[in-house]
Structure formats: C-alpha cells, structure tokens
C-alpha cells in the first residue's frame, strides 16, 4: 500500500487491467475455497501446500496461509519422526553385516509402504530436511516479492526453530545479501541479530561488519544503531558515566564527526553522536528525590521524573533517636512529580536525614519557618572526563566553529557545537550555547518549539545549580527569563517565593 504512484491510464488500459484483475480474483477465490475445504477435512498434504504457494507468492501477508503451511509441516514432520523412531526400535539384526545396498533397498521398501513413491532413496532425515528446505525456499521467494513481510520473516524463524540441524551460517550469508539490496531494512537487521546470536557470532565480528557498512555508506541509521548495541558490551565504561570506555568513545566521536562533516544534512549519525556526548548508560529505575520540605505535620516531596505509584517508594526520616516512615502520599500535580504527605508527627530539634531507596539526604533548617528541607539541583552533563577525551571534545568544537565560519546557517553544526560546549564546560559556554539555540530557531523553524524548550531547560538547570549559592536561597528563586512552560518546576517546592521575569 506504500509508494504506489498514481498513473493516469487510458480507458483501454483500464479495461484491460480490469479484465485481468477479474481473472486473478476468480483464481484467488477458487484457490481459497479449495484450501479451506481441504483444511477443514484435515487433508494436510502437498496439494494444500502448493495451493498456498500460488497466493503467498503474490501476497505474502496472508498470515492464515502460513499457519496452514505450519500445520502441514508439523503433520509431515510428525509422520517422519514416527517412522524414524519405528525404524530405530525395529530390530536390526546383523546390521553390521548388511551391505549399504541392502540398507538402501530396505529404505526404499519402507518408503513404498508409506505410499511415498517419489522419495525413493531419501532417508527419513533427508526427507525431513527437504520439508524444511521447501519452507525456507518459499520464504526466500516471498521476501523477494516483499522484503518487509512480517509473516515471511516469522515463518523463516519458525522453520529454523523446528529444525535442530538448521544452518545458521547460511542465514548469516542471506542477511548479508539482503542488506546489500536494502541496507535499511529493519526486518533484515532484526533477523541478523537473531541469527548471529544463534550462530554465536562474536560481537567483534559484528562490529567489523558494521564498520564496513558505514564505510560504504555512512548514511545508514541502522548501522549506527547496531553499533550502539555492540560497543557498550565490547568496551564497557566502568563508572557507567559514559556509554562506553573513554578510549573507544574518543574514536567513535571522531568517526561520527567525520560523517557529519562530509554531509551535515544527513541526519543518520546525529542521534548516535548526541548519545555519545551524553552521560551514562543507566537510567534510574526508581524515582529520585530532588527536593523535600517538611513541617511538623506535613511534608512535600519533589521527584526528578514522574512516579505513578508512591507506594513502592519507602521514605524515612531518620534521626539519632528514631526512624519515621512517611506514607500516604498524594500527588500535587498532574505529572505526579510533586507529592504531599499530611500525616506526620515530627520531633523538633532533631537532626534528621531523609532516606529512600538508596538515597540519603541530610536536611537543613529553612531560615523562614524552621521547616526542614533538602535540595539536589539537576545535574549538568559536565561530568568529569579524562584529559584525552576533553582534548578530543575541544578539537571537535574547534572544527565545528571553523565550519560555522564557513557555513553559519548549518543546523547540525550549530546544535553539535552547542552540545560540545556543554560537554566541555556548561557554565563557561552557557551564553554562547544559548545563542546557538536562538539561531537554530531561525534556521530550523519547524522545530522552533523544541529549541525554545531546550533553552528554557538549560537556563533553568543553570539557575537551579547556582541557586544554593545565592543569598536568598532557599527563600526566593528568581526565574531565569520568561518561561512559557517551566521545566523543573517541582524543584521549587523549597522556595517561598518565585520571582517571575517580565
């Protein structure tokens, strides 16, 4: 249904086409009727298989026909396996004395007994392999017709799973072949991952394959994606602060930058690059507390990301004397990032620590009302990085700035240089990276809203990070500029007043 160009046809042409279609339709209906009759009467034979072939070759998406084929295959293989077992069990006296020829004859007889005349000398296990091979051939033909047919791919997997002697190396070759035709077919890539796992292909070898693919054509998001799966496994980052070891990260950054410089308008590598420039691999499984404030009988809590169920989160206030569990939280906002607990009883004048799944936060006394609070500003991405990596980032930034000098409106370069700046030093480059976002709003107007939000996030992040050092902390928070939507708004529960900018 995709990509069919509408061509104006002459009246004649239409008539001809119509006639042809009527014939094809009659043929289809006749075959379907016959198939259904045979299936319901349990005739799972070669004729039924052949009937499905005619339709599947034209339309491999008719899943029911694949189901019927699987029924036929199961029936056939069960028969063959039974026969094999029977053969094994059957007393074979003086087997060692029998000549090969005699054995062959015996098999032939057995084959005849089963009424399977045309499979003369094939042994049962050969016959079994033929059954599987037929299915594989058909899926291969169907994939030629439609390389994106979910059903054909699945039938292939199913067939191979049935066969204990499946040839996975051959499947790997098939993937190579199909990826040559279409290097972006995600079915083929999925299948490749499945097959290479079955064939126990080492990850290094897969990475080499991937590198070759990118060398031939770096405009290949699928290859970059495949890479992103392999590298963290092959070159793990001990501290989980980066997606992979810094040494490898440096090389990858260089490669991806080369792709982008060759064609900055090709978006294939953008996401990979931004991932490389980002922080660690791990996403927090449990909710992370970023701000907390409590009064003798009430507490408010802010979470980094929304959390639908606070029940799972065990929150305690711990002092030298006792431990107090806070529960019965109620959401304060629609996103469920701010929660309220109205049933506590706090002993005054104790030093409390807030504790929840793996987090221990010391509490301070609020200057205004002596409530207890804590505040963890959103972390910026300038995590520590080695000298080598920093040098690479700086070189890359330099290249980007040179390129901007040459092509000031290049979208990718504007965004990448802003990200590089933030990876090197958020604070130092804050204004300059914001200037790039403003420029991006012009050169990439489709995504204006995105850049505006991003600028607000960056503004808010830095304002929140610097807030604890201001003299009004935590009483007053001054909004950094005008905000349409306020990111990180939950962090502000510890403030008494928020000054909006005009």
């Amino acid at each position: 249904m995709h990509g069919r160009v509408k061509v104006r046809t002459t009246e004649e042409e239409r008539e001809r086409k119509k006639k042809e279609q009527v014939l094809k339709m009659r043929a289809y209906r006749a075959a379907m009727t016959r198939i259904q009759i045979k299936r319901s009467s349990g005739e799972l034979d070669d004729e039924l298989l052949n009937l499905t072939v005619q339709i599947l070759l034209r339309n491999p998406d008719v899943s029911t026909l694949w189901n019927i084929r699987r029924e036929c295959v199961l029936a056939k293989t069960a028969q063959l396996q039974q026969a094999m077992q029977a053969q094994e069990k059957a007393p074979a006296p003086k087997a060692s004395e029998q000549t090969e020829k005699e054995e062959e004859e015996k098999e032939q007889e057995q084959a005849k007994e089963e009424g399977d005349g045309d499979k003369k000398s094939a042994t049962y296990s050969e016959q079994l392999q033929t059954v599987y091979a037929t299915e594989l051939d058909l899926t291969e033909q169907c994939l030629m017709v439609n390389p994106k047919s979910y059903n054909s791919w699945h039938h292939r997997c199913w067939t191979l799973e049935q066969n204990p002697e499946a040839n996975w190396q051959r499947e790997l070759q098939l993937c190579n072949k199909y990826l040559k035709f279409d290097e972006r077919n995600f079915h083929t890539w999925d299948y490749r991952r499945y097959v290479s796992a079955k064939a126990a292909v080492p990850a290094e070898q897969e990475l080499d394959f991937c590198t070759e693919k990118i060398k031939v054509n770096f405009s290949n998001y699928s290859s970059w994606h495949h890479r992103s799966l392999l590298l963290p496994k092959l070159y793990p980052n001990e501290l989980k602060e980066r997606p992979m070891s810094e040494q490898k990260l440096k090389q990858e950054l260089e490669m991806v930058l080369t792709a982008a410089f060759t064609d900055p308008n090709d978006s294939s590598a953008w996401f990979y690059q931004r991932w490389l420039l980002g922080g660690g691999v791990q996403r927090e499984e449990s909710a992370e507390i970023v701000a907390f404030r409590c009064w003798p009988h009430k507490a408010e809590l802010a979470l980094k990301t929304s959390c639908p169920e606070m029940v799972q989160l065990k929150i305690h206030l711990i002092s030298a004397q006792n431990s107090l569990e806070l529960d019965n939280w109620l959401p304060m906002d629609a996103n469920k990032t701010q929660w309220e607990c109205g049933s506590i009883d706090l002993h005054a004048n104790s030093n409390y620590i807030l504790e929840s799944d793996g987090q221990r936060l010391p509490l301070s006394v609020h200057p205004k009302d002596e409530s207890l609070y804590c505040f963890v500003p959103p972390h910026s991405i300038s995590t520590s990085c080695s000298k080598e990596l920093l040098a690479e980032l700086q070189t890359q930034l330099k290249s980007c700035m040179d390129l901007l000098d040459y092509e000031p409106d290049s979208k990718w370069t504007l965004l990448t240089s802003a990200l590089l700046m933030r990876a090197i030093d958020v604070d130092k480059y804050h204004e300059q990276s914001l200037a790039h976002l403003i420029k991006l709003e012009q050169v990439d107007a489709l995504r204006q809203g995105y850049y505006q939000d991003l600028a607000q996030r960056w503004n808010m992040e830095i304002a929140l990070a610097k807030w604890p050092e201001t003299k009004h902390f935590p009483l007053v928070f001054e909004m950094p500029g005008k905000m349409k939507r306020t990111p990180y708004v939950q962090y502000l529960i510890v403030a008494d007043a928020i000054i909006e900018c005009d």
């Binding site: 009659r26 060398k215 390129l403």
Partner: protein, 505 residues
C-alpha cells in the same frame, strides 16, 4: 584475402583505426555496402595494441604513423646474470617469454562513464562486444606521492588526505557545481575557473584536487569550460565503479575492433594488408575508381586514414609532424602505496603538469587485472602533446616527477612519436574524406565527433549515426498484438487454477 569479393561498394574505408571503424560501422548499419581495408597486417592502425615482441618490431621500423621509436631493457638479460640476487625477479628473457600476455596500446585512453563513447556504445548496442574495468583511482601528485582523489561520499568520509573542514568544503563545492545552472554565477562569466574556485574559499589541497583531477583545468581555463568539465566528471560518477572512468579490458586497441565487428555483422567486408594505391574519378558517374592490390574497385565514397593515403594524395595534406609524444614503461612494482594498489592493483589515472601548468601529460598505470600485462607487472603509459622530435625529452619533465622519489622498479622503457598532418582538414579538391589522427585527449570525444561529422557529410543528418542494433533474440513476429489480454498471458499457475475452477463449476 579472397579475390572473389565484389567490385562495387557504397563505401570503401581505408584504415582500421577508431575513427574509420566508427564510420564503417555506421555506414554498414544503415544498409550501405562497405569494404574496410588496412595496409597493415593488424587492426587498429595508430589505435592498436601489440604484444611485447610485435611492439618492439614496430619501434624498430618507423612508418607514417609512428616514428622516433626506441626501447631499452633495464633489468638483467636472463636468470644466470641475475644469480646473485636473492629474489628471482623479471628478466628480459622472462618478459619476452610472456610477450603474448602483453597488450601495449599506442593510444591508451579511458572513457567517462557517461561520456560520448559510453553513450554511443550503449545507444548502438555495440557495448555487447566491449568489456571494461572501472578505473580504480584518479590521483594527484602531492609531495611526490600519489594520492587518490575522493570520488564519492564514502571516499570523502574515509579519506585521510582531507581534514574535517576540508571534507565539508569539497562536498559543498562539488554539490554546488552539480546544482549549477546556466543562469547561476553570472559574475564569473568571462573569468577563469580558478578565480571561481578561489572565491569559494577552499584550501590549497582541495584546489589542487579540483584543478588537476576533477575539472582538469589550468590557470587559464575559463569558468564555463571548467564548470562543464567538472560536471562531466560528476555526471559520470556512481555509474559503474568508484571513479568516473572506464578502461577497455585488454587495452584500448579492442575498441576499434568492436565497431568492426558490428560493421561485419551488417555485411561489411574486411581485408588486411591491403593498401589504397590510387584513386580516380570514374567517367560519366560520381563513382570513384579505387586501385588496390592490382584490382580496380568502384565506390560511391571513400574514407581514409591520413597515414594510409597514397603518396599522390598525401601531399595535399601537408607534412607529417610530431603530434603526440609517448612513453611506455614496464615495471615490477607499481607507483603509489599499497592502499592504492590493493590486491595487486587495477587502473590508476593521473594527470601531470609541468612548467607551471603550461604543459600536461597523462599517466595510466595498468596492473594485470586490466588484461594488458602478466601478473606482478605494471605498465605506465605516459602521453603528452609533442613539442619536438624527441619523445623522451618531451616527457622528461614528467618522468622526473614520477620516478624520482619512490621510484618503481622499471624493467623496460620505450618512447615513440605519433604523427599527424599539418593540414588535417579535408580539402574540397579531394574526392575522398580524410579522418583525423588521434589527438591528445582522455576520452574519445574528438574522435567520435570527427566520425560523426564525416558520416553526416556522406549521408546527411537525416540518417541516424549508429542506431541501436537489435540483439539476436529480438525477433518480432508480425501480426501479434502485444496489448491484447488473453487468458494464456496469465501466469501458468493461475491458469491451471482457473481451469480447475471451470471444471468444478
């Protein structure tokens, strides 16, 4: 030669070089009776290829086409002489033993993948007789090193010769040229291509790549011509191989023969070792009487390669002067690093400049995959417009650049001059058409234009020059309406199904 051949032809073509063969094929293709003869005992004339022994003979016996021939053996004569050397290398003996494995071109050429020759071969269906190898690298000389010029997005991505920003510059420049339209860049009209290039703020390295290898310009080339050449290069990319060029397998001498084969298929008659001895106008008709090998043949028209004219006519065309200086080297190691010669090497093209760009030469390096030499050997063809009777002196400025640093192990070197008349135009007084000698060009554009011109002069522009020749299997049966839908045009299996259904109903 059988002498029971007919005595009357529509066209007699003398010389089996590229241009003459084109004309012979084109005439034969539109139904003219053609006799194609050559004074030599080989096909191709100045466009031919030879095995090593024959090539040496040719150099020893100058003719009208080729003179100033000389060759030198650099390696040892035989193995005995070579005993002290550890590695058994090539000797004169072993080279001559493999003489037949060589195919040494007098006029080596490459073809743009979307150039005149390739288009003509495809259009005429002569391509089925021809076989090509995509040129592996187009190079420039940078600090005495051969460096491959990136010819694709992935080349630019993978190359180590350019910095990040240069990669972008090159891509941007080429994309701009590719998108160039007549009405763009009006301000550069009448200026040079170099000025345009400089205005794009590209680095020296990119400037060199573009000027030397892509646009193939010199400092004086006009903006329009440079742009046209750049686009000829770009337009030929991504068709067959990684570069825009093709090289005829087994040498450029194969090409004229492809045209001869087509001519023969359509009835052309071929005789070698048969010269044009004289020509006169027949009385009371427009026919020409051609005397050759003691016989008189009648022809409506005659086309002749200049070097094969009878002496009586040749004088009308002026003196034969040096036209092209050629050098040919056989070496045991290639030019360029391993990366450029992966897997034994292929075909490398390099345009060389000397005297601050005033003179240029073309180098073609051929490895055995081109089918022109035995494995382990490399041929270097050097070609430059002649400026003297001494081809080796003419080429000295270029060989110095190539063979100074990282000199390959040269086993054999040869030099010769290809000649051309001083007045190449067909004089109106002449009863026949004369083709032009091979000129200094990379592709065959000028030669094809020359052939087409003569064809038009002979038969008028209404006749198509080399229309598509049918394949043998393309036999059309009359009276069949291909658009009519019949049941038997349905696929086999559907038809069977329908029949089954009809029975069921």
């Amino acid at each position: 030669m059988s002498d029971d051949l007919p005595e009357e032809f529509d066209l007699i073509v003398v010389g089996t070089g590229f241009t003459e063969s084109c004309i012979a094929a084109a005439a034969s293709r539109i139904g003219k009776t053609v006799l194609h003869i050559d004074a030599n005992e080989y096909y191709g004339d100045a466009w031919s290829s030879f095995n090593l022994e024959a090539f040496n003979c040719l150099l020893e016996q100058p003719n009208f086409t080729l003179r100033n021939g000389s060759y030198i053996w650099h390696g040892p004569e035989s193995k005995e002489e070579n005993e002290e050397m550890e590695i058994v290398s090539w000797t004169r003996e072993t080279l001559l033993e493999k003489s037949r494995r060589f195919s040494l071109d007098l006029s080596p050429r490459v073809a743009y993948s979307d150039g005149e020759l390739v288009k003509l071969l495809i259009k005429s269906n002569i391509c089925r007789y021809a076989e090509f190898r995509a040129v592996d690298h187009v190079c420039i000389l940078s600090n005495d090193e051969l460096v491959s010029v990136p010819c694709s997005r992935s080349d630019v991505f993978n190359t180590k010769m350019l910095t990040m920003v240069e990669k972008r510059m090159l891509m941007k420049f080429l994309t701009a040229c590719n998108d160039y339209k007549e009405e763009d860049e009006l301000s550069f009209r009448g200026r040079t291509f170099l000025e345009y290039l400089q205005a794009q703020r590209v680095t020296d390295k990119i400037g060199t790549c573009v000027m030397q290898a892509i646009a193939m310009c010199d400092a004086n080339t006009s903006f329009e011509v440079g742009m046209q050449r750049t686009n000829r290069f770009l337009g030929s990319l991504g068709r067959y191989g990684n570069t825009p060029f093709l090289f005829p397998m087994y040498g450029s001498g194969e090409l004229p023969q492809c045209f001869c084969r087509l001519c023969a298929v359509f009835g052309g008659v071929y005789c070698l070792k048969r010269s044009l001895d004289g020509i006169t106008q027949a009385e009371q008709s427009n026919e020409l009487l051609v005397s050759s090998a003691g016989k008189t043949l009648r022809a409506k028209q005659v086309v002749c390669a200049p070097a094969q004219l009878p002496a009586s006519l040749a004088r009308h065309y002026g003196e034969l002067k040096p036209h092209i200086s050629r050098g040919l080297f056989i070496a045991a190691s290639p030019l360029g690093n391993e990366e450029l010669n992966k897997g034994g090497g292929g075909v490398i093209l390099l345009r060389l400049l000397a005297e601050e760009g005033a003179r240029e030469a073309c180098l073609l390096q051929l490895a055995h995959y081109s089918g022109t030499c035995p494995e382990g050997l490399y041929i270097f063809h050097l070609t430059t417009p002649a400026i003297s009777e001494d081809p080796s002196a003419d080429l000295a400025a270029f060989t110095a650049q190539l063979f100074q640093a990282n000199a390959p192990q040269i086993l054999y070197s040869a030099y010769f001059t290809l000649t051309a008349q001083t007045i190449p135009k067909t004089s109106t007084a002449m009863p026949i058409c004369c083709t032009a000698a091979p000129t200094y060009e990379l592709d065959y554009d000028a030669a094809i234009a020359n052939a087409r011109d003569i064809f038009d002069k002979l038969y008028g522009e209404a006749e198509e020059f080399l229309p598509r020749a049918p394949d043998p299997e393309e036999i059309v049966v009359e009276g069949e309406d291909p658009s009519a839908l019949r049941e038997h045009s349905l696929p086999e299996d559907l038809r069977a199904q329908l029949q089954q259904m009809d029975i069921a109903e």
